[in-house]
């Protein structure tokens, strides 16, 4: 999987600002793509990326090398912060508050001019692997990972038992792992 050197983290911990710049250049794109996919709002997604980088700079010890890969930790942190925002926006809308952004949503189905970045092989493989997952597994994974729904919410939304939801998530993840290794061969 696309990764970043843990050495960067040690340098950031030591207050090396060039390391933060290197991390941004190498990985902010992946973090931003994830956040944008969850939030569907460029400005909010940029805010999340700023928050995550500021947090890392202020509190580098929030990560520890024993906690796994630095890159995975960063993506999970980005995902969770984006989901928090998504949920808070959803709560406001559920309470009947307006959201000018959502209410006046434009049709942005045209090609995104800023989305011209070339897919890395790794990400391209993963994207393919995800799209070839069985629909029912992909759907549950999307709701869980990109919409932040818990198992109960998904089971209610899709009229499935809790056990089915959990097993579809697990199976989907395992299949993604397997598909990736197959595609790499």
């Amino acid at each position: 999987m696309a990764t970043i050197n843990t050495d960067l983290w040690y340098r950031i911990k030591d207050g090396d600002s060039t390391a933060l710049a290197e991390l941004y250049d190498g990985f902010a794109g992946a973090m931003f793509s994830l956040s944008l996919e969850i939030l569907g709002d460029r400005w909010e997604a940029e805010e999340v990326i700023q928050d995550v980088f500021a947090y890392l700079w202020r509190k580098p010890d929030a990560f520890a090398t024993g906690k796994g890969k630095f890159s995975s930790w960063l993506l999970v942190l980005t995902r969770n912060r984006s989901i928090d925002r998504y949920r808070s926006r959803k709560r406001r809308l559920d309470r009947g508050e307006s959201d000018d952004t959502l209410q006046a949503r434009e049709d942005t189905s045209q090609t995104d001019g800023a989305q011209q970045a070339t897919l890395s092989d790794e990400r391209s493989h993963l994207r393919t692997a995800f799209t070839i997952l069985p629909t029912e597994q992909r759907q549950v994974l999307e709701l869980s990972y990109f919409k932040g729904m818990n198992h109960i919410e998904i089971s209610e939304a899709l009229n499935l038992s809790l056990g089915t939801v959990k097993s579809r998530i697990r199976l989907g993840i395992e299949k993604l792992r397997l598909s990736l290794s197959t595609l790499r061969k």
Partner: protein, 407 residues
């Protein structure tokens, strides 16, 4: 092991119930398998993360992020001044916060019909622009054609400001003060960026800036004129605590303009947490910060100015400080406005209005009828120090509050 894997995945996704999360965290300390499962779950989630369609970040995001690594400005000399000492000794918080009224008038209170129309037209145009600059708009994806088309369909906002200020204004009239706030706090900067997008090659950075300015301007206008858009005002009011994050997001590393004068904003001491309660109170605070920035934008010696928001510097209050390197002549011009030393020249009348708007707002925010008392306390003011000019205003802090909303 399967249960452990499930727990680790749920924990990573943030859907493990709180009590189970605590137990799982305790398990992580001592159980190698639990730890292994967590690392594996993180890997799986990271793989899922990378399935998101790739999108490119705007160039200016990088500079904003890297700017965070720069050492913040040393505010100690300022915080050690006699003015700050006096503020610390005299500032007293109170229980009843400003909840609207003093600054809010009805649109119908504006006696000049043409002026009233100007306010309404400006508001309606901004409503049209808002969805075209929001984070899910085409412009936010790099396609500016529709936004430019819309902006070109009506005149520059700066024409509207000129028109507004060209009327015979009775400055003592509360309705006129609301008009001035609507015309001078946010609108000059908004006008600058909308003109730039209209006339030149637009950028994502300009679009983002225009989004925040539009959002703020609309809220300030609704808070200024109760009957302008009552339905949306009710919706604004539903958001209670307003966090400092709302301010930091838009000020950090941004370009600010007051008419044609621009400056790069730096921030280093923004605290985390709420600054105000109700939306009308936030509109006061927000407009004040714009007024400070406006006063500095045209005077900064090096094209930069600092905006800072500090909470612990003076107990019981949040302290908004704006400072810029300034030559003596420009500082003197600012002092003359602030202290009313002489009648301002025509080109400085805007600046005098800005200071008056801050003073009006201090009266409302502190719920104090006597401006002289606030001046005496140093609740707001201007100070020259080591070649820098500092402007500030103190605002009652929200006691014992959790982090503010950043909607």
């Amino acid at each position: 092991m399967e249960t452990l894997k499930q727990q680790a995945l749920d924990y990573t996704l943030g859907v493990l119930p709180k009590e189970e999360s605590i137990l799982f965290e305790a398990l992580l300390e001592q159980d190698e398998d639990a730890h292994k499962s967590l690392v594996e779950a993180q890997e799986d989630c990271a793989r899922l993360s990378l399935t998101a369609p790739p999108s490119r970040l705007g160039e200016e995001v990088r500079s904003r992020i890297i700017e965070q690594t720069h050492p913040p400005m040393d505010m100690d000399p300022f915080l050690g001044t006699i003015e700050m000492k006096r503020l610390r000794e005299n500032f007293s918080a109170f229980e009843n916060r400003y909840s609207g009224g003093g600054g809010a008038v009805d649109l119908s209170d504006i006696s000049l019909t043409a002026l009233k129309d100007e306010v309404s037209v400006s508001y309606e145009n901004l409503l049209k622009i808002m969805p075209l600059v929001s984070g899910d708009s085409r412009a936010a994806s790099g396609d500016f054609s529709k936004l430019q088309q819309e902006l070109r369909s009506f005149g520059s906002f700066s024409d509207g400001i000129d028109k507004t200020l060209g009327f015979e204004l009775n400055e003592e009239d509360p309705a006129t003060r609301s008009v001035l706030r609507s015309a001078l706090a946010t609108l000059p900067s908004l006008s600058f960026f909308s003109d730039r997008i209209r006339q030149q090659d637009p950028s994502l950075g300009d679009t983002r800036r225009l989004f925040y300015l539009c959002r703020d301007q609309l809220k300030i206008m609704r808070a200024s004129f109760r009957d302008l858009d009552p339905q949306r005002l009710i919706e604004d009011e539903k958001l209670r605590l307003h966090g400092a994050g709302l301010l930091q997001t838009k000020w950090w590393g941004s370009e600010h303009a007051f008419f044609s004068s621009t400056g790069k904003v730096r921030c280093g001491h923004f605290f985390e947490g709420p600054v105000t309660e109700r939306c009308v109170e936030f509109a006061e605070y927000d407009a004040n910060m714009y007024c400070l920035a406006n006063l500095l934008a045209s005077r900064s010696q090096d094209g930069e100015f600092h905006m800072e928001l500090m909470k612990d510097a003076v107990p019981g209050c949040t302290l908004a400080v704006a400072t810029a390197k300034m030559d003596d002549r420009k500082h003197a011009s600012l002092e003359s406005i602030i202290h009313g030393i002489r009648k301002p020249s025509a080109d400085m009348i805007h600046d005098q209005y800005l200071w008056t708007l801050i003073e009006d707002s201090m009266i409302r925010g502190h719920q104090c009828d006597r401006l002289s008392d606030l001046r005496e306390q140093q609740a707001y003011g201007c100070r020259r120090l080591n070649g820098y000019t500092y402007l500030w205003f103190a605002w009652p802090a929200i006691p014992n509050a959790q982090d503010g909303a950043d909607a």
